[in-house]
Symmetry: C2
Subunit: 132 residues, 2 copies
């Protein structure tokens, strides 16, 4: 059943992700990791990001911009997406896990979890707007 073998590329990708708090996309991971290993291929980046996400070592974020973002922080937390600059930012907020129970109250099937993200204008975009 497909034993996992070590790979330098996968390690580089994981290590790069751990240095970032801005939830980069596959392409950004590719551009950065390529500076250490110029022959790494984009397919390798995609394959390993998917693999790491599948085994739970990283998280894949879908925030409605059509591009997947990745996060080395797999602890439960929520994200904010700036509609001006596209930045994806961690939010510090109380748990809202209880919404899953609310959703299940009148529902026939089984609710396993939820996906939530918030949107608006980030701090720096808000401040830029005030000037104009």
């Amino acid at each position: 059943m497909a034993a996992l073998k070590h790979s330098r590329q996968r390690e580089m990708i994981k290590e790069f992700l751990m240095t970032r708090k801005d939830h980069p996309t596959a392409d950004i991971v590719y551009m950065n990791v390529r500076q250490q290993n110029p022959t790494i291929s984009l397919g390798t980046v995609y394959r390993n990001l998917t693999l790491l996400a599948d085994i739970g070592e990283i998280a894949r974020l879908r925030v409605g911009d059509g591009v997947d973002h990745f996060d080395a922080d797999t602890s439960p937390h929520y994200h904010f997406v700036c509609t001006e600059c596209g930045a994806v930012i961690d939010l510090e907020m109380d748990s809202i896990e209880s919404i899953t129970e609310l959703a299940g109250a009148n529902f026939d099937g089984h609710i396993a979890g939820h996906v939530t993200y918030f949107y608006g204008t980030c701090g720096s975009c808000t401040r830029s707007q005030k000037l104009s």
Copy 2:
């Protein structure tokens, strides 16, 4: 500034969407509307769905399956996505608008809203699983 003109195609698309509660994709809209108007093009479907969503007459749903779904019901409500069959189902649940305030408590910028959907196994998929 681009005055909106009536179009038979847009009307057909909107009317089709209003008959459906299953949040069809652009392709499904295309296949269905084509039965009334066989020469309508997929580009027209996409353009009008985008236009209708932009003016708020329909809602565009992104539920993480890589395909946009559309909903003629623009009243605030939440959706459930079945991880087995992919169905997108309306949920009847109490408002969770308060999570936006929670999110804004420790945040620098301005939070305009949130996107939430729930996932798990729908009623019929849950029942099928029990048999196996």
